[in-house]
């Protein structure tokens, strides 16, 4: 078989490829959203702790520290395996795709937490003071005033996180998810050739990241033009 024949042989599996692509994108987007929420909440707890010696906050803060330390200190593959085979016991009712979204989301949250913490600290203290002086509660001021500004300040780092996340999801196959990488692994096994499928796989990731980067540049440009 020549090179072109091999490519068209791989493309015979387009249903499998699209299924894998769908899983990869779904995990990425789902995990990114979960990560944002977890990250903002964790960062808020850490920042609030600095201004308050409330016992409840102390406990939350300790939990947040454990969370960030454990997640950042262990490989995501290990987290996947632990969650799927140990914590959830590989029950036959489990949907591995959902487990993957959760694990990658929890993983991403720990990184976003550190980014957002920096972002929140970069917002002028006067913004929080003004909100509080008007009788707005701490959470309300956070949500309406501080976090939007912090997010804008951390946007480049958050977009990096999205791209890193997309690539990290390639290990989802460890818990039987058929993502893009696992799909091409299967194709390669069936076709008993590695070169063409894996080169194609790499190109597909490259193209997705390329498209994402273009979109992100547009968003950043638009935000720069916005004067707020």
């Amino acid at each position: 078989m020549n090179f072109w024949q091999e490519i068209s042989a791989v493309l015979e599996y387009h249903t499998l490829i699209f299924k894998g692509l769908g899983a990869t994108l779904l995990i990425t987007v789902g995990a990114f959203l979960i990560g944002q929420v977890l990250g903002v909440v964790t960062a808020t707890i850490k920042v609030a702790r600095n201004n308050n010696s409330n016992v409840f906050l102390k406990i939350l803060n300790a939990l947040a520290s454990v969370y960030v330390t454990v997640i950042r200190g262990t490989p995501v593959v290990v987290q996947l395996l632990l969650m799927y085979f140990v914590i959830l016991g590989a029950s036959p009712f489990l949907n591995p795709l959902i487990v993957a979204i959760a694990v990658f989301g929890i993983n991403s949250g720990a990184y976003v937490a550190e980014t957002m913490r920096g972002g929140i600290l970069s917002v002028d203290k006067g913004q929080m003071e003004a909100g509080r002086s008007l009788g707005l509660s701490f959470p309300k001021t956070m949500v309406k005033v501080v976090v939007p500004q912090a997010t804008k300040n951390s946007l480049p780092a958050l977009f990096n996180e999205l791209i890193a996340l997309l690539k990290e999801t390639s290990v989802a196959g460890y818990i039987t998810v058929v993502d893009l990488t696992r799909a091409f692994e299967k194709i390669s096994n069936n076709e008993t050739s590695a070169i063409v499928p894996y080169i194609m796989l790499a190109v597909i990731y490259l193209v997705i990241v390329g498209i994402l980067t273009l979109i992100i540049r547009q968003i950043e440009k638009r935000l720069q033009n916005d004067r707020n």
Binding site: Q127, A130, G135, L136, K140, V145, N228
Partner: protein
């Protein structure tokens, strides 16, 4: 309205506010003057609990403010900052309406809860429930109110601008209006003109003067001695964390008693 008793605030060894007592009565306009580092700002920030004081008591209408719901207390005690602190991510209109809308929505929520408790006792509440404003009505009313306030200060055309598009003087006037939109009982000003270019100081001072004419109760920390003399009903002179002299502007400026005040006035006489 507000009684301050033996207020003390330390920063480590430094007594930023040292055993200060003062009363603020309805309709009073109190200017707080004094050299930098005398504790004026810390004093006024304690009144709004932006600084947690470590000694003494502040009573609001007879109740210790540490026993009050802090957010409700602050809804009645407005604050204007040296650096304006407008919300950078919101338009001017949203800056003004954010807190009042939140306040009124909460009030409606509380009322609904109370009414529902009555309903459990078999009282018909449908009529009262109907009379509560909807969220949409609240938003609309507060936006109209904000636009009226903006019109009053000649900035209605800036309603949809962002803070970064305004000059310093405009920002501070919006900040004052933002505090007013809460319909506070008292307004606290922490050096409202210190961060402004000289040519913008007057527009802010004249707005505060207009408020003074409406008998708004105010406490103004300021370096504008002439303004303090003309607008205040009472002046506090602070030095080293203490209120050294507390008198009418006429007495305080024309007949100073304390040697430290005499020295301060002599050094700043070119500002009068």
């Amino acid at each position: 309205m507000i009684e301050i008793k033996n207020l003390t605030k330390h920063y480590g060894e430094l007594h930023a506010v040292n055993d200060v007592s003062a009363n603020i009565d309805d309709g009073e306009i109190i200017a707080v003057i004094g050299p930098s580092g005398s504790g004026k700002s810390t004093f006024i920030r304690c009144i709004n609990m932006l600084e947690n004081y470590d000694g003494g008591q502040i009573l609001y209408k007879g109740t210790d403010i540490k026993q009050l719901d802090i957010n409700k207390y602050r809804q009645e005690v407005g604050m204007v900052f040296q650096h304006f602190n407008l919300f950078n991510n919101l338009t001017i209109l949203d800056n003004i309406t954010l807190a009042p809308i939140d306040k009124r929505k909460q009030k409606v929520k509380e009322l609904t809860k109370q009414l529902k408790a009555q309903k459990k006792q078999g009282i018909d509440i449908s009529e009262q429930l109907k009379n509560l404003p909807t969220k949409k009505q609240i938003v609309q009313e507060e936006q109209e109110n904000a636009l009226q306030l903006l019109t009053r200060i000649g900035l209605a055309d800036k309603a949809n601008s962002y803070p970064s598009q305004l000059s310093g003087g405009q920002k501070q006037r919006v900040a004052i209006v933002r505090a007013l939109a809460m319909k506070p009982e008292i307004l606290l000003f922490d050096e409202p003109t210190s961060a402004l270019d000289i040519e913008m100081v007057q527009e802010v001072l004249s707005l505060i003067k207009q408020l003074a004419e409406t008998k708004m109760t105010m406490v103004i920390v300021t370096h504008e001695l002439k303004f303090a003399k003309n607008v205040a009903t009472r002046v506090l002179f602070m030095d080293g964390g203490k209120v050294v002299e507390d008198n009418t502007p006429d007495q305080l400026f024309n007949n100073p008693q304390h040697p430290r005040l005499k020295e301060f006035l002599a050094k700043t006489s070119d500002l009068m």
